[in-house]
Every structure is written in structure tokens, then in C-alpha cells.
């Protein structure tokens, strides 16, 4: 039965005066505060975007004004109605409020990030030529009439036809120089010292050795960074674990300092670290390894320390009672508990490091990223295409191995020794030797030089002092703030567009929907393959394609982020669909519900929470990615940052880094709140 209290007009009036005040007075403090902050934020956004970029400008007689004030007024009106309804203990839908708020935000985002949909159509021919290059990579060279040419699919098809028909095919085929640049080649080089010392080569005589290509260098960078960051993160993680540090006097101070430091270091993307590191040790793969390591240490440290905090305290207590000291307790009660999760985080990080290694070359030099910068600068898109396919191949493999090994670790089966003991020792010995050889090889390949660590470049001191005294003058803050907003809006649009595109495809990629039927299973494999290939390539590598299509600027960056979002969100969505509980479907079908009713009442309610949580996850990723997309011409704060770094204006670069840290931390906080509310 409805009990209708008398309406309180003053509640509605207070919400009319200050949005959210009425709700606040009704002891719905959180709701009131949220409404107030949203109104304030929307108002600021509208006036800022109108004053600076004339967004939403309409002429009203002699005045020009932003039409976006209209949806804000409607939002205000909703807030009054909401307060009025709450006063009478009723509730009205908050969908209108979400609609008006989203309208304002998306209109501004659309304009700020310079979305030009018409270019997608008008310059479609350019896109087609890039696409044709992408599918005809420079892998095989044919020599005909004394000239070398790229032999792509049609040429290969003709060659195969000639061979099958018994005709003499045109010129011999061989792997292209471009492919050898990426993979590596055997060629005569001056022998390294150790070969001479072992008597396998002579001074002054070239020997034939494998010279690694850019992709091999990339793999080495990813491996070295993973190794170094693990070695550093394991001891550091104990300093960031509450349950360990709270045992020592003053330990909590170290704990909070570590937590703060880790969050700041993680908020700055690997690529941005690359910019800082090259000032320290100079361009090259070593700079890449350091940049990857810095970010990776912080991320691993956070995961490791959380794992230490969640161990079972029982065994720790038991081992302590035997009279064991701290080191013994760690070794017997803590280490065995955390080994599986540490290993699985390590493998996860290896995957992430390999992906980052493919793009770190954009700023640090070295690896496939540097190769992509070079080739695209020359407009060599078929060569660029080869690099993309090589990256896709390697990353898909790494992703598979990492996921597969993690799944095995999570099973946590007891290791059963098999075979003779000496055979096991032999295997261990072989692996140790192979590991050492790989380590030394990677060490040399990535040009690691400990001495240059302690001999920073001449500008590094300047950078450090400038980062302490960042430029906070309005002349710098204005444009930096604008670019930060552009970056945030890029992430927002990319997440939205990516999810909208992914939604229908994710249903096709769900095994329980399309994988059962032999007629539709090809759809399953096709959509899965598309997700996996697109997901394996970092957004920075995509930007080039979109620059060619829609021109340099934030729109190209947004589209590149949309590609990666589409692939990751699509994969996660399809897995959520695969994981739904079939019980409710069965139950509703048994009640006589039709398929549409089953979807609405049994399937959608199960999908909404995971979908929202994946969207928020993707949004977190995109915020970070958007800060670097400008390094390749994708607009946003990254462009500003490279400009300042390039012109040695480190005090302004410091401002940008500080803004990035603040923006990322703020967005993380918001998404965590949102997740709490919605999921």
C-alpha cells in the first residue's frame, strides 16, 4: 500500500537553487553530492568548450550561446523532480539524467577530439590502398629482368600457376631484405672477442653469424625487462605489504611511501618512461629495457604485495612457534604459499612487456617499434605491413603460451617426478645452460651497459631539477589542461565506439552460441581470429593507418584506440557470454517463455554486470593508452609531451607528466567508485 506523505515544496525549491541540495537535506548525502558535482562539472565543461572552441555555438539574435545549456537545464529540472519525488518517498528513473549528461559529454567529446566522420567516407580510397598494402606485405622478393620486386599474393599465385603448368616461372624467389631486417640474417661480421679467444675465428677475418632482426631484438627486450623487474619486484614487494611492514616500528611509513611511489610510477606509461630514460642513457634498446623494467617493477610490486597480504597467516604462526627467525619464516611459511601466484603474475607481465616492447621503439629506439617509425616515415607501407604481421604472430604466440602456462599453474597439481633422478638432473642442467646462453645473448643484443647507468647523459641533471621545479604558469597550464581533456575524451569515445562495434560481434564469437552448429562454427572461428589478431597489435602501431585515412590528429588516435578496444572488449564480452549459467534459461524455458523473453529475463541480467565491469576495465586501459597515442601523431597529451621533450623544455614536460599522473589517478578513482556502485 502506498503511503503518500504531503509533498515538501521547499525540498524541490532547494534543489532548484542548488542542484543536489534537496537530496542532501533528505539525508541522501551521496546522491546530493554526486548531482551537485555533476552539474558543476557539466557547466564548467560547457562554458570552457564554448569559450575556447565555440562548441555548440548557436546564434540567438545578437548573441551566440551554446545550445548545450538546454540539456543541462533539463538535467537541472530532473534533479528538482527527483528531490520532489524523494521527499514523498517515491523514486523516479535516473535514465533521463544519464541521457542529458551523456549528451553533453559526448557532444563535447565529439568536437574536442575532432571527429570527422565524413573523412571515413571521402578518403575511403586512401584507406583501401593502405588495406591492400597490409594484405600484401613485403615478405618475398622476385627477380625478373634484373630487377627486384615484391612478390605478393597475386605474384605468388602466378608463380605457382607457372610451376604447376610446367612453364618456366619468372625469376627466382627469395625472402625479401625487409623480412630479413625484421627476423635476422646470417652474414659476415667482424668476430666478437670470445670467438677469437676460443680459437673459432681469427682476428681481421669475417665470420658468418646470425645477426638478429628488429623482432628478435624486441623479444629480447621483453624478456630482459621481465627478468629484471621480477628480480627487483620480489624484495620490494615485501616493503609494500601491510602485514609484513606493520610488524616493524616505523614500517607503516615505508609501506605508505612505497604504495604512493608505486601508484605514481604505474600511472606514467612505459612509453613516457622511455622519454625520460633516453635523456639518462641515450637512445637504443637498453633505454627500452629500462623503461619497460621501471613500469613493470611497479606493476609487479603492487600485485606481489597484494598477494603477500592475502596469504594464510596460520603457517606463519606455526613456523614462528618453532623458534624460526624472520628469514626462515619467509622461506618456509610465505614463499611456498606465494610461488604459484607470483609465477602466474610473472607470466602475465611477460605478455604485457612483450606488447610494450613492440612500441617502446617509438621513443627509445630499438626493436620493431623503431623499425615501424622508419618505414612509415618513408611511406613504405608494404614493409610496415610485414612488421605488423610479425608482431601479430609473435604476440599471439606469447599470449597463448602465457595463458596456457598460467592455467596450468592455477591447477596447482602436485609435481610428479618421473624417470631416473640423473635424467631429471640432466634436464635441469640442459635448461640452466640454455637459459644462461639466452640470457647472455639477450644481454648483448639489447646493449645492456651497467656503466652507462651510472653515467647519465648531460641533460639528465637538468631534467631532474626541472621536474622538481615544474612550470605552473597559466601559459603552460592552459594548453596542457586542454590536451588532457582531449586525451580523456579520446579514451571515452574509443571505449564507447569500440564496445558498440564489439557487442554484436561478441555474440558471434561465443562458443555456446555459434560454436555448436557446423553451419555457424566458421563465424565463431572467424570472429575469434579477428579479435586475436587485432588485439595482438598495440594502438600505437595502428595510428599510422588512420593517419593515412583521416589525417594527423586526435581522430586518428581515437580510431586506433577504438580498434584495440573493439578487439579486447569483444574477446571479454564473448567470454562473458560463454560463462553464463544455463540454469535460469532452462527454468524460464520450462515456464513456457518464448526465446525473446528468455533473452530479456535469463540472459541479459547475467550479462550486464560483467559487461559493465569490462567496459570500466577497458576505460582504465584507454586512459593510459590515450596519453601516449600522440607519439605517433594520434593527438592528445602525448604530442604535447614529445614536443616539450624534443625542445628540451623539461620544466614544461614535468608539468605534463604531473598532469598525466593526476588525471590517471583521478580516473582510476572514478572508475573504482563506479565499479563499486554498478557491479
Amino acid at each position: 500500500m502506498m503511503t503518500s506523505k504531503p509533498a515538501f515544496p521547499w525540498i524541490a525549491i532547494s534543489s532548484l537553487l542548488v542542484p543536489g541540495l534537496g537530496q542532501f537535506l533528505l539525508k541522501r548525502r551521496g546522491r546530493g553530492l554526486t548531482i551537485f558535482l555533476i552539474s558543476l562539472l557539466l557547466g564548467l565543461l560547457i562554458s570552457w568548450s564554448f569559450a575556447r572552441l565555440a562548441i555548440g555555438s548557436v546564434a540567438l539574435g545578437a548573441f551566440t550561446v551554446s545550445w548545450l545549456w538546454l540539456p543541462l537545464a533539463l538535467f537541472w529540472l530532473w534533479n528538482i523532480l527527483d528531490a520532489h519525488a524523494l521527499a514523498a518517498d517515491r523514486h523516479i528513473s535516473f535514465l533521463p539524467a544519464m541521457f542529458f549528461g551523456a549528451l553533453i559529454v559526448y557532444v563535447i567529446a565529439w568536437n574536442v577530439t575532432d571527429v570527422k566522420l565524413d573523412r571515413l567516407v571521402s578518403r575511403f580510397n586512401d584507406a583501401r590502398s593502405v588495406a591492400s598494402n597490409l594484405f600484401n606485405p613485403d615478405v618475398i622478393t622476385i627477380s625478373s629482368k634484373g630487377q627486384d620486386e615484391i612478390c605478393a599474393w597475386s605474384c605468388l599465385y602466378g608463380y605457382a600457376g607457372d610451376v604447376l603448368a610446367g612453364r618456366a616461372p619468372q625469376g627466382p624467389l627469395r625472402w625479401s631484405e625487409n623480412l630479413l631486417d625484421i627476423v635476422g640474417r646470417v652474414k659476415g661480421v667482424t668476430p666478437p672477442g670470445w670467438l677469437v679467444r676460443l680459437g673459432l675465428a681469427h682476428e681481421g677475418e669475417d665470420v658468418n653469424l646470425f645477426v638478429a632482426g628488429t623482432m628478435v631484438e624486441t623479444i629480447a627486450m621483453g624478456l630482459m625487462a621481465t627478468l629484471f623487474s621480477t628480480i627487483l619486484a620480489i624484495p620490494l614487494s615485501f616493503l609494500a605489504a601491510r602485514n609484513v611492514m606493520s610488524r616493524f616500528p616505523g614500517g607503516m611509513v615505508i609501506y605508505y611511501a612505497m604504495r604512493g611511489l608505486l601508484n605514481v610510477v604505474r600511472a606514467v606509461d612505459t612509453i613516457v618512461w622511455g622519454l625520460i630514460v633516453i635523456v639518462w642513457v641515450g637512445l637504443g634498446p637498453f633505454a627500452g629495457v629500462i623503461a619497460l623494467t621501471i613500469h613493470s617493477v611497479a606493476a609487479l610490486c603492487k600485485l606481489f604485495s597484494e598477494e603477500i597480504e592475502h596469504i594464510d597467516p596460520g603457517p606463519v604462526e606455526a613456523v614462528t612457534t618453532t623458534g624460526a627467525d624472520l628469514i626462515q619464516t619467509v622461506s618456509y611459511a610465505i614463499v611456498p604459499q606465494v610461488v604459484p601466484s607470483f609465477l602466474s603474475y610473472l607470466l602475465l607481465r611477460w605478455d604485457i612487456n612483450m606488447r610494450s616492447a613492440t612500441v617502446i621503439g617509438f621513443v627509445a629506439g630499438g626493436g620493431i617499434g623503431f623499425f615501424v617509425v622508419e618505414t612509415t616515415r618513408q611511406g613504405a607501407y608494404q614493409q610496415y605491413a610485414t612488421a605488423l604481421w610479425a608482431v601479430a604472430l609473435v604476440i599471439i604466440l606469447v599470449d597463448y603460451l602465457s595463458a596456457n602456462w598460467r592455467a596450468r599453474i592455477m591447477e596447482d597439481a602436485q609435481w610428479q617426478p618421473s624417470g631416473h633422478a640423473w635424467l631429471r638432473y640432466l634436464w635441469v642442467g640442459v635448461f640452466v645452460v640454455l637459459g644462461l646462453v639466452a640470457f647472455v645473448y639477450c644481454w648483448n643484443l639489447t646493449e645492456i651497459s651497467i656503466s652507462s647507468l651510472f653515467d647519465p647523459g648531460k641533460n639528465f641533471g637538468q631534467l631532474v631539477s626541472d621536474f622538481v621545479h615544474v612550470d605552473l604558469s597559466p601559459a603552460t597550464l592552459g594548453p596542457v589542461f586542454q590536451q588532457i581533456l582531449v586525451t580523456i575524451f579520446q579514451a571515452l569515445l574509443a571505449t564507447t565506439l569500440g564496445a558498440l562495434l564489439a557487442l554484436p560481434v561478441s555474440f558471434l564469437a561465443a562458443r555456446n552460441l555459434t560454436g555448436r552448429n557446423p553451419l555457424s562454427i566458421w563465424l565463431y572461428y572467424l570472429s575469434r581470429a579477428i579479435f586475436n589478431v587485432l588485439r595482438s597489435i598495440e594502438a600505437l602501431l595502428y595510428v599510422v593507418i588512420f593517419i593515412f585515412w583521416v589525417g594527423i590528429g586526435p581522430f586518428a588516435g581515437t580510431l586506433a584506440l577504438t580498434m584495440t578496444s573493439f578487439a579486447l572488449v569483444g574477446k571479454l564480452f564473448s567470454e562473458a557470454i560463454e560463462n553464463i549459467d544455463t540454469g535460469p534459461i532452462e527454468a524460464l524455458t520450462a515456464t513456457g517463455a518464448n526465446p525473446l523473453q528468455v533473452i530479456v529475463y535469463a540472459i541479459l541480467p547475467q550479462l550486464v554486470p560483467p559487461f559493465i565491469s569490462y567496459l570500466i576495465y577497458q576505460w582504465d586501459i584507454n586512459i593510459r593508452m590515450a596519453t601516449i597515442i600522440g607519439f605517433a601523431g594520434g593527438g592528445g597529451i602525448g604530442l604535447t609531451l614529445t614536443t616539450y621533450f624534443g625542445s628540451l623544455q623539461y620544466h614544461k614536460a614535468g608539468t605534463v607528466v604531473a598532469f598525466i599522473v593526476i588525471a590517471v589517478a583521478l580516473m582510476d578513482f572514478l572508475s573504482a567508485k563506479l565499479r563499486q556502485e554498478l557491479v
Binding site: 603457517p315 618453532t322 627467525d325
Partner: protein, 252 residues
Amino acid sequence: MLKIENLTKVYPNGTHALNNVSFDVQDGEFLAVIGLSGSGKSTLLRCINRLVEPTSGHIFWDGRDITSIPQAEMRKVRRQMGMIFQQFNLVRRSSVLTNVLSGRLGYVGTLPSALHFFSRADHEKALSSLEQVGLAEKAHVRADSLSGGQQQRVGIARALMQDPWLILADEPVASLDPVLAHSILKYLEQLNKERGMTVMCSLHYLDLVHRYATRAIALKDGELVFQGHPKDIDDAEFKRIYGQEAERVSLV
């Protein structure tokens, strides 16, 4: 040999877990500690080996005040007090043998043990401890593959590695079914009677107290409300310890 004087423990959140508790434990006793959940039994046992630092009062071990000796000294004292836990507290992923060997950590050097190196004598001792609890053939399987009763026996074997004079047992059978409860307590009784180890054991069920303990103390809201022979716990005493609502239940 163990003398508790005016022991008080106040946790940082303000809980008075122990309030001015004093009693003695004689050599060779099987002392049961009874009381409701939250009456302070676990805190009392953990104060004795200082897993929990007492707020005030004194603990005398073998005539020596150990209440505030330094940690390095305390580790030597802890070797003489084995402890057994309700949740067994084994490292689930380590082998049974490693779990048992970890009972020896107080006697061996930090570096060799951190590298998981133990002497042959320690290995033999671990295997014979396992034999005493009937689990010799399980030495190399992982602890989490054992049943609850077997895990508790591994816990006892681990405590035996310390060559303890005193065994502190914190609800050792509360996670086990009645049959297993008797088998575990029989092991403790055997250690008590045949090897002269003093046992101090918190228990929930009064009939187990009657069956195994030579003496009992009772805690209520952190205060000592009874000490004496288990037979002396009559109905009035029982209501005083467990509250007016309580009724006697029997195990098995």
C-alpha cells in the same frame, strides 16, 4: 615450571581478552583450558609463547621471566614449546616432510635452512616423528592432499621435531570429527604419559576434558573462573563457566 602471574591482554581495538589471569602448570600435567568461544583461550596460549605480546603480567618459564626477553632469546625458548593448531596451519603446498622439518628451524642455521638444507640426523628424526604418528609413507606427498586428521598428525610430528617440554594445543580437535578427535588426543596423551611432556590444551567438549585431562582451568570473558580437577566441574560450576542457558552435550 610454567607460572602465569596477573596476565592481562588488551588488544589495540580495546578488547580485554585476558584479565589478571594467574595459575601454575606443573611438569607432566595434562592441563585442559575450557571456556566459551571468545573467552580468551587462544590468547592465553599465544601469550605463553608470545605470538601475542601480553599487555601486563608475567610469564615464568623454568623459573625465568620470559615476558619481555628479546626476540632472539624468545626464539630459543619457543623451541621448547611445541604448538598445535585448530586449522593445522600446515604449508599446504609444501611436502609433508618439509612441513615436519620446519619444526626444526629453531635449531638450525638461517642460511642452510633457507636453502632447504637439513642434516641427515634431522631427516631421520623427521621420518621417525612421522612414523610415530603413523604417516611414514606419506612423507613425500603434498600436505594438502591429506585428510584433516592426517594433517593434524603432521602438525603433531612438526611439534615433536622441536623436542618440546611443553605442548600448547589450541583447539586441536575442533575441526575434526569425533572419532578423529579421540585419535589425536590419544597421541597427546601418549606423549604426556610415556614421554613426560607437559600438555596444555584448549578443548570445547567437557567429556573430552574428563577423559584426557589431569587438571582443568576455565576462562570466562578473559577471567579465570575455575581451576581444579575435571571431576569437580559439577552442574553449578558448569553453569558458572558456560552461562545459565548452557546444557551439557556429549561427544560420541
